[in-house]
Amino acid sequence: MNKSPSKKPIKINELDSITIRFAGDSGDGIQLVGHQFANATAIAGNELSTLPDYPSEVRAPAGSIGGVSGFQLSFGDESVLTPGTKPNVLIAMNPAALVVNIKNIDKGSIIIANSDAFTPAALEKAGYSSNPLEDGTLSNYRVLAIPVNTLTESTLKDSGLTKAQILKCKNFYVLGIMYWMYDLPIEPTINWIKTKFKKTPELAKANHQVLAAGYAYSEATEMFDARFQIKKSPVVPGKYRNLTGNEAAAYALITAAKLLKRKLFYGSYPITPATEILQTLAKHKANDVVIYQAEDEIAAICSSIGAAFAGCLASTGTSGPGLSLKVEATGLGVISELPLVIVNVQRGGPSTGLPTKTEQSDLLQAVYGRHGESPLVVLAATSPADCFTATLEGARIAVKYMTPVIVLTNAYLSNGSEPFRIPKLRELPKFEIPPLPEPERFKPYGRDPETLARPWAYAGLKGYEHRIGGLEKTDGSGTVSHDPENHEIMSKLRAEKVARVAAEIPPTKVYGAAEGELLVIGWGSTFGAITQAVNEARKTGLQVSSAHVRYMNPLPPDLGTVMRRFRKILVPEENFGQFRMMLRAAYALEPIGLNKMQGQALNADEVLAKIKEILRGN
């Protein structure tokens, strides 16, 4: 497609995967071109992984270092598991974007810079005393300085648009260049432009023209001596779409409610980086989705608990500080034994911390952070698309066991995206709810002997009128009880009910040998980095295996046995050792930690270096 004869034969390099970083001012449309590029790579049949990285300010001062917005993605064959450590290609739309990112790219990498943006004023804002595109400081990189503003303006000189409108199109020029460079289809973006600018056909036309001009420029100019083709991955056939982790969690909640044949209720308060769940669900009101933007985090969870009492599949979503605000009501969910899904998108903390950056530091809060003996189920998602599977599983457990479930994702997963294969109905898990006896035999706290779940008799059902609440209940009848023995019995029942979930946890998969020198064990969002690092280590002959945990509470019943088959255990985490602490407490083992607290995901290189240090330091 779009192949026309070129001036000279073009060398096509085939690569396994490539990492690209778009960077520019937060007003430059970086996230938009990043998403479009990601979609194009997916449609071309690549595996991919993306990482948007944007400032927490809505619009930081133009040209400032604080205002640099980035979008990184890796694409290629099945070896792509993370958005990549160091970009092979950096697109710098201004000097600030260059200065922020240059330290993270290897010499020899490609830098595509919008030379028109390297004005004396912009250079000064970025802290440059001279122009790096001209003074030789980038001589170790392959720099492509392209006057994107000028080229965009000349493309649109007859469009009748104002200069400001014209310059807003410049990101599409760069996108056109990138499509040509990586032999990607341009049509999906053209279609997207047509839909997006349906009401302003003049802008649709302009953006289309600029995109095509960028593509043609690359084809015509002799600036590029190489064009890249990326190896495609042998993906499972099916229907795909690109989803961020937040979108995946939202669609999982809708799916769960459909499988359960109940309304979905999602009570939420806006908080970065979880808000997109609310926004995604808000588009689906016609599909029995009840969304409720509450006045605060507390009301968000309390309204959801009310909705569960009224028979909905109830859910709420938040991030660290919001989870803290929900703690008291989560306790109410535990004692009232109502199903509730809490999606917690972890970010850098404590307090406001690093609201747009990633971390894994709410694990202990999720598992233990409540008053009283207050056990609940905690799951963790491993990738953006896995946020669907993990959230769906959370909902299934919540209704089967009548318990709150916390699903842990984080900013890395929630904002990142990857292709999601749309499941067939028959591939989805079955949803079971505890049996509801006839009204005469109904006891609010009667229990299913297998799961210990109480029946879900919701408000409005004739013959099941009953009262529940935060006070301790008598086992069976559910009447208020201050009896000492009863409290212990009920505390044990609640704990045992959650513990019984363990019986459903599939055996722990060990990648590599089932025993040996070193097991790298991770949880949640570090899956890609760990797997990639272990694969690379094994290629170099190192004896290392890995395992990844989804069920954080209860833990997989075989985990202790799996770990004891290795001499050493390494636990990489984006916190100061929270999972390591849980493992020590549960199994009296002494794992080694690899801990990162920078608001950035652990990458494969860091895990690999630690593996080497442990194994070669023997």
């Binding site: 999906p188 795909y240 009840v290 507390i298 309390c302 009310g306 009224a310 008291e328 749309i422 609440g469």
Partner: protein, 333 residues
Amino acid sequence: MENIKLTAKDFASTLPVKWCPGCGDFAILNQLQKAMAGMGLPHEKYVVVSGIGCSSRFPYYVNTYGFHSIHGRACAVASGVKLSNPELAVWVVTGDGDGLSIGGNHMLHAIRRNIGLKIVLFNNRIYAMTKGQASPTTLLGAKTKSTPMGTIDFPFNPARFAVGLDCTFVARGIDTDMAGNAAILERAAKHKGTAFVEVLQKCVPFTDKEFDTLKDPEKKEDLVIRVEHGKPLVFGKNKNKGITFVNFRAEIIEFKPGSVPAEVAVYDETSAEMAYLVSGFQAPEFPIPVGVFRAGEKPSYEELYYDQVAAIGDTKDNELETLLSGPDAWEIK
């Protein structure tokens, strides 16, 4: 709707009621059970939601669905119930501490949304369950266990708080006024949107004398004014005093019984301004007003919500796969 005839007794639960002897809660429980019976709805359509405090024990004593939630959060829990299933009649029972201190935010947002909750706030001007600390309605200077030298917090006037938030139904009653209070609760039950009813109620152990003068047969007619839509604002044992407004300020005028002068204001419950002025009356300058201060029409939150859903029309993606695919899925063969 099936035609159901129920009495107050049908709404009594079998649990022993655990309030102090003489507590005003007993009377309110009775009045509310009566109001429920009058609605013609079956038991299972009622949900009584409460927070924490003496009044919040209420759900246990009503034979309906009930949720004794956590401190201050009754309105939030109840909003989730109501929005999930607007067919349910959802009552919130709360107190001055529960509803206006720890739960103030949820209260004011429930009122802002005009969500169909029937909120009954028992105002005994004290934290009773924790045994006697000043509450947000404790009068200035009152000595309590947490304010041995007297409170320095200016108190809330709950009814006026609700009027100030443009609540579409605001009323105040006195616990022992069986007929008056029952009438208020019946109107609240039928109101569309948020109904806010403040009930002045004594607490035997801590504020036993709080509202005694308002109940004293000798004095009450001079200390209490009953507001009624379309009726002049007249009070006094001999019906010889009335309220007039001069430049938006209330004044009391006296007249010969039976001949109410034209300047005595006629109460208009549809007027937010009048409700604001009258609900603000304080002793000793003015009589304490009771009755329905405000009754207005505004679409309820749940009505607007489901109207929006209806307006989207039947775009329901019945096939889960279609829904999940969205507009931009691609096929890999």
